[in-house]
């Protein structure tokens, strides 16, 4: 069957990789157990042997594996990023997902046959930026920042004629990726440099009466009432006191879900859909990937959407869903 839109799925563990492949992923993305990828959480990610067997498992079932090496290399310490590219190439990764100029240059010059995908962390949101990355490093695909409307995505693809991958489901960052230092300001660690936003060692939850209070270091991020859904303690989705009133200053905690926009994204020229959530469980991966697979296959065959499309809402952060920046008129 012809693929309507390529389905690129998260894997934080070898078990999640197998779950994604079995549920019908066209490609799986994952990272090594260190600061070279943007989901560097304790107990997550792959060692070299696990990645090797994961790639073998995926390839045997016609699924590709992309390795995220998408943080920014530390000054004077390029070793981890160089090893990550070397090992991803040696282990047979189908592509590496990269943001840092130095890492891109190293990968492009050392492994000219290795496919390069420009990470969302690079925040390439203009035709000029995308052309620069393609002409300088030969990137094959850009993962577009989550700040663009569908019309802007269509224009960018039209101007650059490049493969574009967009986020379709999962947690939503409201800030420009690769430029956000809120977590670093509060904890000293950031997704761009250390691969962690709101690192777990700084996160705490306490029950105070009927309320659940989340803190990042010493900063209270939210206080959830007895019937309110909880959310991650990420600084951009915190509820802060503004002139004495608790308000979501940047964005409310909600999960992205583009199922109703799939036809528009296809018409805009998008090549691939990315499911967010390498930090989530294999149960999440199975459910979300399986549902998207069924939806994409139904659309490709001209059938109505399967009923399970509505079942994903419960998995959204804060228990609510949004189209994010894709549809701005409504907001």
């Amino acid at each position: 069957m012809k693929t309507y839109l390529e389905l690129v799925c998260p894997a934080g563990t070898p078990a999640a990789l197998r779950a994604a492949v079995d549920a019908g992923a066209d490609a799986v993305y994952c990272g090594f157990q260190d600061c070279t990828n943007a989901r560097n959480y304790p107990g997550l990610n792959f060692n070299r042997e696990e990645l090797q067997s994961g790639i073998a498992y995926a390839h045997a079932r016609g699924c590709r594996v992309f390795v995220a090496v998408n943080t920014f290399a530390r000054a004077g310490d390029f070793g981890p990023w160089q090893r990550a590219i070397d090992d991803a190439a040696a282990l047979g990764a189908d592509a590496v997902i990269v943001a840092d100029l130095g890492v891109l240059d190293y990968a492009a010059s050392t492994y000219p046959q290795l496919r390069l995908h420009l990470s969302v962390q690079a925040a390439a949101a203009s035709a000029l930026a995308i052309r620069f990355y393609r002409e300088t490093f030969g990137i094959s695909r850009v993962i577009l920042p989550r700040v663009l409307a569908v019309e802007e995505i269509a224009a960018l693809i039209g101007e650059t004629n490049i493969e574009a991958e967009v986020f379709a489901f999962g947690s939503l960052g409201t800030m420009v990726e690769g430029r956000c230092y809120l977590s670093s300001y509060m904890t000293g660690r950031s997704p761009s440099m250390d691969g962690v936003c709101a690192p777990a060692e700084h996160v705490s939850y306490q029950e105070e009466g009927n309320c659940l209070v989340s803190r990042l270091g010493e900063v209270m991020i939210n206080r959830f009432g007895p019937d309110e859904p909880a959310a991650y303690p990420t600084p951009c989705k915190g509820r802060y006191l503004v002139q004495g009133r608790p308000l979501y200053l940047f964005e409310e905690p909600m999960g992205l879900n583009v199922i109703p926009l799939l036809a528009e994204l296809k018409a805009a020229g998008v090549t691939a859909l990315k499911i967010e959530g390498r930090q989530r469980s294999r149960a999440y991966v199975s459910k979300v990937v399986g549902t998207f697979r069924a939806i994409l296959d139904s659309i490709a065959q001209g059938k109505p959407l399967p009923a399970e499309a509505a079942e994903l809402a419960v998995m959204a952060e804060g228990g609510r869903e949004t189209f994010g920046a894709y549809v701005r008129g409504w907001r």
Binding site: G12, T13, P14, A15, A16, Y41, P42, G43, L44, V150, P199, A200, E201, V203, S204, Y205, Q206, E207, L212, F224, D227, P229, A230, A231, P260, L261, A263, E264, A267, R280, S281, R282, A283, Y284, K287, V314, M315, A316, E317, G318, G319, R320, E321, F323, V327, G329, W330
Partner: protein
């Protein structure tokens, strides 16, 4: 109940009846089988700095303290969780078992407040990710304790579970029938919450309609 699922009603009833010393002995045996079947999980737990996590099944009279890091893991039943702990996890027994076996998504349960995690998040996250790597089948492990009789015990357990489920469904139906006439008007707060939920749903529908309109508009333009 489908084959392969956990007979949670039977187990929660049995656990509620067992005194703590017998429960502790049974858990010790279960952990020994678990260690044999999942050596990688136990290596990961042993490599963690020593820690204690309080486990609080809200539908059981027992609380548990899980200790690991360095020494062999232990899970000790206790009446209260007033000792120093790194973190606490609270939820229904069925939910906690689903998490242990990796059948449920912990983040979804956390968003909906079906589980509550307090204290050191890093410790709980490390444990969750260690469990994610192995597919633990707790029922199969418990059945392994019965040696050659495990097939017989398994069938008996599943039959008992089916009976317990049917009894519970009958009790729920009777309870509903008895209380239907005495149900009070919903509180103002609950009505407000319902209205807000309806408003959100209407907003979502409006957004979808807008998306469909844009889609049609786009299709007209391209045709």
């Amino acid at each position: 109940m489908a084959e392969g699922e956990f007979p949670v009603l039977l187990v929660s009833n049995a656990l509620a009846l067992l005194p703590a010393p017998i429960l502790e002995r049974a858990i010790g045996l279960l952990l020994a089988v678990l260690a044999r079947k999942h050596p990688r999980l136990f290596r990961t737990l042993a490599a963690h700095p020593p820690c204690a996590i309080g486990i609080e099944p809200i539908d059981l009279p027992h609380r548990f303290v899980l200790r690991y890091g360095g020494a062999l893991p232990s899970l000790i039943p206790t009446g209260t969780l007033d000792q120093p702990l790194n973190a606490r996890v609270k939820g229904k027994l069925e939910t906690l078992i689903g998490l242990l076996e990796g059948r449920l998504d912990s983040d979804t349960l956390f968003f909906s407040r079906e589980i509550v995690i307090t204290g050191d998040t890093e410790t709980v996250l490390s444990l969750r990710n260690a469990l994610e790597r192995d597919s633990v089948d707790l029922f199969a492990i418990a059945m392994a304790l019965f040696g050659p009789a495990n097939g017989l015990v398994r069938r008996a357990a599943l039959t008992l579970e089916r009976h317990l489920m049917m009894t519970r469904q009958h009790l729920i139906a009777w309870h509903e029938a008895l209380h239907a006439s005495r149900r009070e008007e919903a509180s103002l707060a609950a009505r407000c919450a319902r209205l807000e939920a309806q408003l959100q749903e209407a907003n979502a529908r409006l957004a979808k309609l807008e998306a469909r309109l844009r889609q049609r508009h786009l299709a007209r333009e391209t045709s």
